[in-house]
Symmetry: C2
Subunit: 215 residues, 2 copies
Protein backbone atom coordinates (compact mmCIF):
# COMPACT_ATOMS: atom_id res chain seq x y z
CA UNK A 1 0.00 0.00 0.00
CA UNK A 2 1.22 3.49 -0.69
CA UNK A 3 2.81 5.20 2.31
CA UNK A 4 1.74 8.38 4.03
CA UNK A 5 4.87 10.52 4.26
CA UNK A 6 5.79 13.82 5.83
CA UNK A 7 8.81 15.18 4.00
CA UNK A 8 10.94 18.30 4.28
CA UNK A 9 8.86 19.52 7.17
CA UNK A 10 10.79 22.31 8.85
CA UNK A 11 11.09 22.63 12.61
CA UNK A 12 13.16 24.78 14.94
CA UNK A 13 15.65 23.33 17.44
CA UNK A 14 13.01 23.86 20.11
CA UNK A 15 10.55 21.80 18.09
CA UNK A 16 8.17 24.36 16.61
CA UNK A 17 6.79 23.76 13.12
CA UNK A 18 5.23 27.22 12.86
CA UNK A 19 5.39 30.49 14.69
CA UNK A 20 2.39 31.98 16.50
CA UNK A 21 -0.30 34.09 14.83
CA UNK A 22 -0.64 32.79 11.27
CA UNK A 23 -2.31 35.30 8.97
CA UNK A 24 -2.16 36.55 5.39
CA UNK A 25 1.18 38.28 6.00
CA UNK A 26 2.61 35.37 8.01
CA UNK A 27 1.67 32.08 6.35
CA UNK A 28 3.98 30.22 8.74
CA UNK A 29 3.19 32.39 11.74
CA UNK A 30 5.30 35.22 13.05
CA UNK A 31 8.99 34.47 12.35
CA UNK A 32 7.95 31.09 10.97
CA UNK A 33 9.88 31.61 7.75
CA UNK A 34 13.11 31.36 9.76
CA UNK A 35 12.72 27.59 9.91
CA UNK A 36 12.38 27.48 6.11
CA UNK A 37 15.60 29.28 5.38
CA UNK A 38 17.41 26.06 4.53
CA UNK A 39 14.97 25.59 1.63
CA UNK A 40 14.94 29.03 0.03
CA UNK A 41 18.50 28.66 -1.26
CA UNK A 42 17.99 25.33 -2.98
CA UNK A 43 17.51 24.60 -6.65
CA UNK A 44 14.36 22.67 -5.63
CA UNK A 45 12.78 25.79 -4.19
CA UNK A 46 13.76 27.97 -7.10
CA UNK A 47 12.43 25.45 -9.58
CA UNK A 48 9.14 25.32 -7.67
CA UNK A 49 8.89 29.05 -8.29
CA UNK A 50 9.89 28.96 -11.92
CA UNK A 51 13.36 30.32 -11.31
CA UNK A 52 16.79 29.18 -12.50
CA UNK A 53 19.80 28.36 -10.33
CA UNK A 54 19.97 27.65 -6.63
CA UNK A 55 22.28 25.51 -4.53
CA UNK A 56 22.69 21.81 -5.30
CA UNK A 57 24.12 20.43 -2.06
CA UNK A 58 22.74 18.08 0.57
CA UNK A 59 19.74 20.24 1.47
CA UNK A 60 18.77 20.45 -2.19
CA UNK A 61 19.17 16.75 -2.85
CA UNK A 62 16.92 15.89 0.07
CA UNK A 63 14.37 18.56 -0.90
CA UNK A 64 14.25 17.20 -4.45
CA UNK A 65 13.85 13.61 -3.22
CA UNK A 66 10.92 14.77 -1.12
CA UNK A 67 8.92 15.38 -4.29
CA UNK A 68 9.70 11.99 -5.85
CA UNK A 69 7.11 9.23 -6.05
CA UNK A 70 4.27 11.34 -4.69
CA UNK A 71 0.86 10.76 -6.25
CA UNK A 72 -1.27 12.96 -4.03
CA UNK A 73 -0.95 15.47 -1.21
CA UNK A 74 -2.94 16.20 1.93
CA UNK A 75 -2.94 19.69 3.43
CA UNK A 76 -4.66 21.11 6.48
CA UNK A 77 -7.04 23.95 5.97
CA UNK A 78 -4.65 26.49 7.49
CA UNK A 79 -1.84 25.38 5.24
CA UNK A 80 -4.11 26.02 2.29
CA UNK A 81 -4.91 29.51 3.47
CA UNK A 82 -5.74 32.01 6.18
CA UNK A 83 -9.51 31.90 5.58
CA UNK A 84 -11.42 30.50 8.58
CA UNK A 85 -14.99 29.22 8.86
CA UNK A 86 -17.27 28.65 5.85
CA UNK A 87 -15.75 29.62 2.51
CA UNK A 88 -17.14 33.11 1.83
CA UNK A 89 -16.55 32.74 -1.92
CA UNK A 90 -14.18 31.03 -4.36
CA UNK A 91 -11.62 33.83 -4.33
CA UNK A 92 -8.96 32.19 -2.12
CA UNK A 93 -6.99 29.84 -4.33
CA UNK A 94 -4.04 28.98 -2.05
CA UNK A 95 -0.76 30.71 -1.24
CA UNK A 96 0.97 29.59 -4.41
CA UNK A 97 -0.42 31.59 -7.35
CA UNK A 98 -1.89 30.07 -10.50
CA UNK A 99 0.50 27.11 -10.67
CA UNK A 100 1.02 25.53 -7.25
CA UNK A 101 4.06 23.26 -6.76
CA UNK A 102 2.05 20.06 -6.19
CA UNK A 103 1.16 18.87 -9.72
CA UNK A 104 -1.13 16.18 -8.25
CA UNK A 105 -4.52 16.07 -6.56
CA UNK A 106 -4.30 17.87 -3.21
CA UNK A 107 -6.82 16.94 -0.53
CA UNK A 108 -7.56 19.87 1.77
CA UNK A 109 -9.00 19.05 5.20
CA UNK A 110 -11.90 21.37 5.99
CA UNK A 111 -15.20 21.36 7.85
CA UNK A 112 -16.84 23.33 5.04
CA UNK A 113 -17.65 21.94 1.60
CA UNK A 114 -16.30 23.61 -1.49
CA UNK A 115 -16.13 22.63 -5.15
CA UNK A 116 -12.81 21.26 -6.44
CA UNK A 117 -10.41 23.83 -7.77
CA UNK A 118 -8.34 22.96 -10.82
CA UNK A 119 -5.09 24.91 -11.12
CA UNK A 120 -2.40 25.12 -13.78
CA UNK A 121 0.25 22.41 -13.90
CA UNK A 122 -1.87 19.49 -12.74
CA UNK A 123 -2.70 20.56 -9.20
CA UNK A 124 -6.34 20.10 -8.23
CA UNK A 125 -7.46 21.11 -4.75
CA UNK A 126 -10.23 18.84 -3.48
CA UNK A 127 -11.94 19.81 -0.25
CA UNK A 128 -12.63 16.92 2.12
CA UNK A 129 -15.12 17.31 4.93
CA UNK A 130 -15.11 13.68 6.08
CA UNK A 131 -12.03 13.96 8.31
CA UNK A 132 -8.42 12.77 8.09
CA UNK A 133 -9.12 9.08 7.48
CA UNK A 134 -11.51 9.87 4.64
CA UNK A 135 -8.97 12.28 3.15
CA UNK A 136 -6.27 9.63 3.33
CA UNK A 137 -8.46 7.05 1.63
CA UNK A 138 -9.30 9.48 -1.15
CA UNK A 139 -5.66 10.50 -1.50
CA UNK A 140 -4.48 6.89 -1.68
CA UNK A 141 -7.07 6.13 -4.34
CA UNK A 142 -5.95 9.16 -6.34
CA UNK A 143 -2.24 8.45 -5.90
CA UNK A 144 -2.36 5.39 -8.15
CA UNK A 145 0.14 3.35 -6.17
CA UNK A 146 2.47 6.25 -5.45
CA UNK A 147 2.92 7.65 -1.96
CA UNK A 148 0.83 10.35 -0.33
CA UNK A 149 2.65 13.36 1.08
CA UNK A 150 1.19 15.10 4.08
CA UNK A 151 2.31 18.69 3.69
CA UNK A 152 1.19 20.04 7.06
CA UNK A 153 0.57 22.14 8.98
CA UNK A 154 1.44 21.12 12.48
CA UNK A 155 -2.14 20.41 13.61
CA UNK A 156 -2.79 18.12 10.66
CA UNK A 157 0.45 16.18 11.10
CA UNK A 158 -0.33 15.74 14.79
CA UNK A 159 -3.80 14.43 13.93
CA UNK A 160 -2.36 11.81 11.62
CA UNK A 161 0.40 10.88 14.08
CA UNK A 162 -2.14 10.46 16.87
CA UNK A 163 -4.11 8.17 14.61
CA UNK A 164 -0.98 6.14 13.83
CA UNK A 165 -1.36 6.79 10.12
CA UNK A 166 1.98 8.38 9.23
CA UNK A 167 4.52 5.88 7.88
CA UNK A 168 7.55 8.15 7.52
CA UNK A 169 8.58 11.63 8.60
CA UNK A 170 11.49 13.65 7.36
CA UNK A 171 12.01 16.73 9.50
CA UNK A 172 14.41 19.50 8.52
CA UNK A 173 15.63 21.04 11.74
CA UNK A 174 16.92 24.57 11.42
CA UNK A 175 19.35 25.82 14.08
CA UNK A 176 17.03 28.59 15.23
CA UNK A 177 14.86 29.07 18.30
CA UNK A 178 11.24 30.06 17.70
CA UNK A 179 10.33 30.02 21.40
CA UNK A 180 6.59 29.82 20.78
CA UNK A 181 4.10 28.80 18.12
CA UNK A 182 2.91 25.36 17.12
CA UNK A 183 4.98 22.55 18.61
CA UNK A 184 5.12 19.46 16.44
CA UNK A 185 5.68 16.68 18.97
CA UNK A 186 4.68 18.00 22.39
CA UNK A 187 2.94 15.27 24.39
CA UNK A 188 2.94 12.96 21.38
CA UNK A 189 4.91 9.96 22.52
CA UNK A 190 6.17 8.78 19.15
CA UNK A 191 8.29 6.05 20.64
CA UNK A 192 5.38 4.29 22.27
CA UNK A 193 3.52 4.76 18.99
CA UNK A 194 6.18 2.64 17.33
CA UNK A 195 8.34 5.28 15.69
CA UNK A 196 12.11 5.32 15.57
CA UNK A 197 14.68 7.74 14.24
CA UNK A 198 16.58 5.91 11.53
CA UNK A 199 18.95 8.56 10.24
CA UNK A 200 20.32 12.05 10.79
CA UNK A 201 21.94 13.85 7.86
CA UNK A 202 23.74 17.17 8.14
CA UNK A 203 22.77 19.58 5.38
CA UNK A 204 24.23 23.00 4.73
CA UNK A 205 21.50 24.84 6.65
CA UNK A 206 19.48 22.12 8.37
CA UNK A 207 19.83 18.76 10.07
CA UNK A 208 17.62 16.23 8.35
CA UNK A 209 15.97 13.73 10.69
CA UNK A 210 14.29 10.64 9.30
CA UNK A 211 11.66 8.91 11.42
CA UNK A 212 9.76 5.79 10.56
CA UNK A 213 7.00 3.73 12.07
CA UNK A 214 8.05 0.13 12.59
CA UNK A 215 5.63 -2.20 10.91
CA UNK B 1 32.40 37.61 35.20
CA UNK B 2 32.69 33.89 34.79
CA UNK B 3 29.91 32.39 32.66
CA UNK B 4 27.38 29.75 33.65
CA UNK B 5 27.56 27.12 30.91
CA UNK B 6 25.66 23.97 30.08
CA UNK B 7 27.90 21.79 27.94
CA UNK B 8 27.57 18.39 26.28
CA UNK B 9 24.06 18.03 27.62
CA UNK B 10 22.44 15.20 25.70
CA UNK B 11 18.89 15.38 24.39
CA UNK B 12 16.79 13.23 22.08
CA UNK B 13 15.34 14.54 18.82
CA UNK B 14 12.04 14.91 20.63
CA UNK B 15 13.71 17.09 23.23
CA UNK B 16 14.03 14.84 26.28
CA UNK B 17 17.09 15.19 28.49
CA UNK B 18 16.26 12.08 30.54
CA UNK B 19 13.94 9.14 30.35
CA UNK B 20 11.18 8.53 32.90
CA UNK B 21 11.68 6.77 36.23
CA UNK B 22 15.22 7.55 37.38
CA UNK B 23 16.49 5.10 39.97
CA UNK B 24 19.68 3.35 41.01
CA UNK B 25 19.61 1.11 37.93
CA UNK B 26 18.65 3.95 35.59
CA UNK B 27 20.61 7.09 36.50
CA UNK B 28 19.29 8.81 33.36
CA UNK B 29 15.83 7.30 33.56
CA UNK B 30 14.57 4.34 31.58
CA UNK B 31 16.33 4.26 28.19
CA UNK B 32 18.02 7.55 29.08
CA UNK B 33 21.47 6.19 28.24
CA UNK B 34 20.43 6.10 24.57
CA UNK B 35 20.91 9.87 24.34
CA UNK B 36 24.44 9.49 25.73
CA UNK B 37 25.61 7.01 23.14
CA UNK B 38 27.51 9.68 21.21
CA UNK B 39 29.71 10.18 24.26
CA UNK B 40 30.57 6.61 25.25
CA UNK B 41 32.78 6.09 22.19
CA UNK B 42 34.90 9.19 22.69
CA UNK B 43 38.41 9.46 24.08
CA UNK B 44 37.02 12.08 26.49
CA UNK B 45 34.65 9.55 28.04
CA UNK B 46 37.25 6.84 28.25
CA UNK B 47 39.74 9.19 29.84
CA UNK B 48 37.10 10.21 32.41
CA UNK B 49 36.91 6.56 33.36
CA UNK B 50 40.64 5.91 33.44
CA UNK B 51 40.69 4.02 30.16
CA UNK B 52 42.89 4.32 27.09
CA UNK B 53 41.78 4.82 23.51
CA UNK B 54 38.45 6.05 22.17
CA UNK B 55 37.45 7.97 19.08
CA UNK B 56 38.99 11.36 18.37
CA UNK B 57 36.55 12.89 15.90
CA UNK B 58 34.15 15.83 16.11
CA UNK B 59 32.13 14.43 19.01
CA UNK B 60 35.30 13.87 21.01
CA UNK B 61 36.74 17.30 20.28
CA UNK B 62 33.56 18.99 21.46
CA UNK B 63 33.32 16.75 24.53
CA UNK B 64 36.92 17.58 25.47
CA UNK B 65 36.34 21.31 24.97
CA UNK B 66 33.38 21.04 27.33
CA UNK B 67 35.77 20.38 30.22
CA UNK B 68 38.08 23.29 29.44
CA UNK B 69 38.17 26.43 31.55
CA UNK B 70 35.74 25.11 34.15
CA UNK B 71 36.46 26.11 37.75
CA UNK B 72 33.38 24.70 39.46
CA UNK B 73 30.30 22.63 38.72
CA UNK B 74 26.68 22.75 39.81
CA UNK B 75 24.57 19.58 39.89
CA UNK B 76 20.99 18.98 40.85
CA UNK B 77 20.30 16.59 43.69
CA UNK B 78 19.00 13.89 41.34
CA UNK B 79 22.06 14.09 39.16
CA UNK B 80 24.15 13.47 42.24
CA UNK B 81 22.16 10.41 43.18
CA UNK B 82 18.88 8.55 43.56
CA UNK B 83 18.53 9.30 47.28
CA UNK B 84 15.47 11.48 48.04
CA UNK B 85 14.54 13.41 51.17
CA UNK B 86 16.92 13.97 54.09
CA UNK B 87 20.30 12.25 53.74
CA UNK B 88 19.91 9.02 55.76
CA UNK B 89 23.67 8.74 56.19
CA UNK B 90 26.91 9.59 54.40
CA UNK B 91 27.02 6.40 52.38
CA UNK B 92 25.90 7.78 48.99
CA UNK B 93 28.95 9.37 47.40
CA UNK B 94 27.74 9.98 43.85
CA UNK B 95 27.46 7.79 40.76
CA UNK B 96 31.12 8.09 39.85
CA UNK B 97 33.16 5.98 42.28
CA UNK B 98 36.07 7.29 44.36
CA UNK B 99 37.42 9.66 41.72
CA UNK B 100 34.59 11.59 40.02
CA UNK B 101 35.37 13.28 36.69
CA UNK B 102 34.91 16.85 37.95
CA UNK B 103 38.25 17.68 39.62
CA UNK B 104 36.81 20.94 40.99
CA UNK B 105 34.35 21.94 43.70
CA UNK B 106 30.88 20.64 42.78
CA UNK B 107 27.88 22.40 44.29
CA UNK B 108 24.96 20.04 44.76
CA UNK B 109 21.50 21.61 45.04
CA UNK B 110 19.56 20.04 47.89
CA UNK B 111 16.97 20.94 50.49
CA UNK B 112 18.83 18.95 53.13
CA UNK B 113 22.14 19.95 54.71
CA UNK B 114 25.12 17.63 54.53
CA UNK B 115 28.81 18.01 55.28
CA UNK B 116 31.15 18.52 52.30
CA UNK B 117 32.51 15.37 50.75
CA UNK B 118 36.09 15.36 49.55
CA UNK B 119 36.84 12.82 46.84
CA UNK B 120 40.00 11.69 45.09
CA UNK B 121 41.31 13.81 42.20
CA UNK B 122 40.24 17.22 43.46
CA UNK B 123 36.46 16.85 43.39
CA UNK B 124 34.71 18.15 46.49
CA UNK B 125 30.93 17.88 46.71
CA UNK B 126 29.45 20.80 48.64
CA UNK B 127 25.77 20.65 49.47
CA UNK B 128 23.91 23.94 49.05
CA UNK B 129 20.52 24.46 50.68
CA UNK B 130 20.14 28.13 49.80
CA UNK B 131 18.77 27.61 46.30
CA UNK B 132 20.12 28.02 42.76
CA UNK B 133 21.22 31.65 43.06
CA UNK B 134 23.15 30.94 46.24
CA UNK B 135 24.75 27.89 44.60
CA UNK B 136 25.79 29.97 41.61
CA UNK B 137 27.32 32.64 43.80
CA UNK B 138 29.29 30.04 45.73
CA UNK B 139 30.35 28.31 42.53
CA UNK B 140 31.53 31.56 40.95
CA UNK B 141 33.53 32.40 44.04
CA UNK B 142 35.11 28.95 43.99
CA UNK B 143 35.78 29.01 40.23
CA UNK B 144 38.47 31.66 40.56
CA UNK B 145 37.63 33.46 37.33
CA UNK B 146 36.98 30.30 35.33
CA UNK B 147 33.51 29.37 34.12
CA UNK B 148 30.91 27.38 36.04
CA UNK B 149 29.47 24.32 34.35
CA UNK B 150 25.91 23.34 35.12
CA UNK B 151 25.86 19.58 34.67
CA UNK B 152 22.12 19.01 34.99
CA UNK B 153 19.76 17.35 35.31
CA UNK B 154 16.85 18.68 33.36
CA UNK B 155 15.00 20.21 36.34
CA UNK B 156 18.08 22.13 37.45
CA UNK B 157 18.85 23.45 33.97
CA UNK B 158 15.23 24.57 33.61
CA UNK B 159 15.42 26.39 36.95
CA UNK B 160 18.49 28.31 35.87
CA UNK B 161 17.04 29.04 32.42
CA UNK B 162 13.83 30.34 33.97
CA UNK B 163 15.89 32.62 36.16
CA UNK B 164 17.84 33.88 33.12
CA UNK B 165 21.13 32.77 34.63
CA UNK B 166 22.52 30.45 31.94
CA UNK B 167 24.92 32.21 29.56
CA UNK B 168 25.60 29.38 27.11
CA UNK B 169 24.15 25.96 26.32
CA UNK B 170 25.69 23.26 24.21
CA UNK B 171 23.19 20.47 23.56
CA UNK B 172 24.22 17.18 21.96
CA UNK B 173 21.16 15.93 20.11
CA UNK B 174 21.12 12.21 19.50
CA UNK B 175 18.97 10.91 16.62
CA UNK B 176 16.77 8.83 18.89
CA UNK B 177 13.21 9.22 20.15
CA UNK B 178 12.66 8.88 23.89
CA UNK B 179 8.94 9.62 23.69
CA UNK B 180 8.61 10.46 27.38
CA UNK B 181 10.70 11.53 30.32
CA UNK B 182 12.00 14.95 31.26
CA UNK B 183 11.66 17.50 28.47
CA UNK B 184 14.34 20.16 28.51
CA UNK B 185 12.62 23.12 26.86
CA UNK B 186 8.88 22.53 27.02
CA UNK B 187 7.05 25.80 27.69
CA UNK B 188 10.35 27.59 28.24
CA UNK B 189 10.35 30.33 25.61
CA UNK B 190 14.10 30.73 25.21
CA UNK B 191 13.75 33.18 22.38
CA UNK B 192 11.79 35.69 24.42
CA UNK B 193 14.34 35.12 27.18
CA UNK B 194 17.02 36.43 24.83
CA UNK B 195 18.60 33.19 23.63
CA UNK B 196 19.67 32.42 20.09
CA UNK B 197 21.13 29.37 18.38
CA UNK B 198 24.52 30.40 17.10
CA UNK B 199 25.84 27.20 15.59
CA UNK B 200 25.00 23.62 14.64
CA UNK B 201 27.84 21.13 14.20
CA UNK B 202 27.40 17.60 12.89
CA UNK B 203 29.31 15.06 14.94
CA UNK B 204 29.64 11.37 14.24
CA UNK B 205 26.77 10.38 16.54
CA UNK B 206 25.14 13.66 17.58
CA UNK B 207 24.26 17.09 16.28
CA UNK B 208 25.82 19.72 18.49
CA UNK B 209 23.66 22.80 19.02
CA UNK B 210 25.15 25.92 20.57
CA UNK B 211 22.79 28.41 22.22
CA UNK B 212 23.73 31.69 23.81
CA UNK B 213 21.99 34.44 25.70
CA UNK B 214 22.47 37.80 24.04
CA UNK B 215 23.88 40.29 26.49
Amino acid sequence: MSKLCVRSFAISVDGYGAGPGQDLQNPLGVRGTEIMEWFFETRAWRKMHGQEGGETGVDNTIAEQAFEGIGAWILGRNMFGPVRGPWPDESWRGWWGDEPPYHTPVFVLTHYPRAPLRMAGGTEFRFVTGGPVDALEQARAAAGGCDVRLGGGVASIRQYLEAGLVDELHLAMRPVLLGSGEHLLHDLDLRSRGYECTKSVAGERATHLFLRRRR
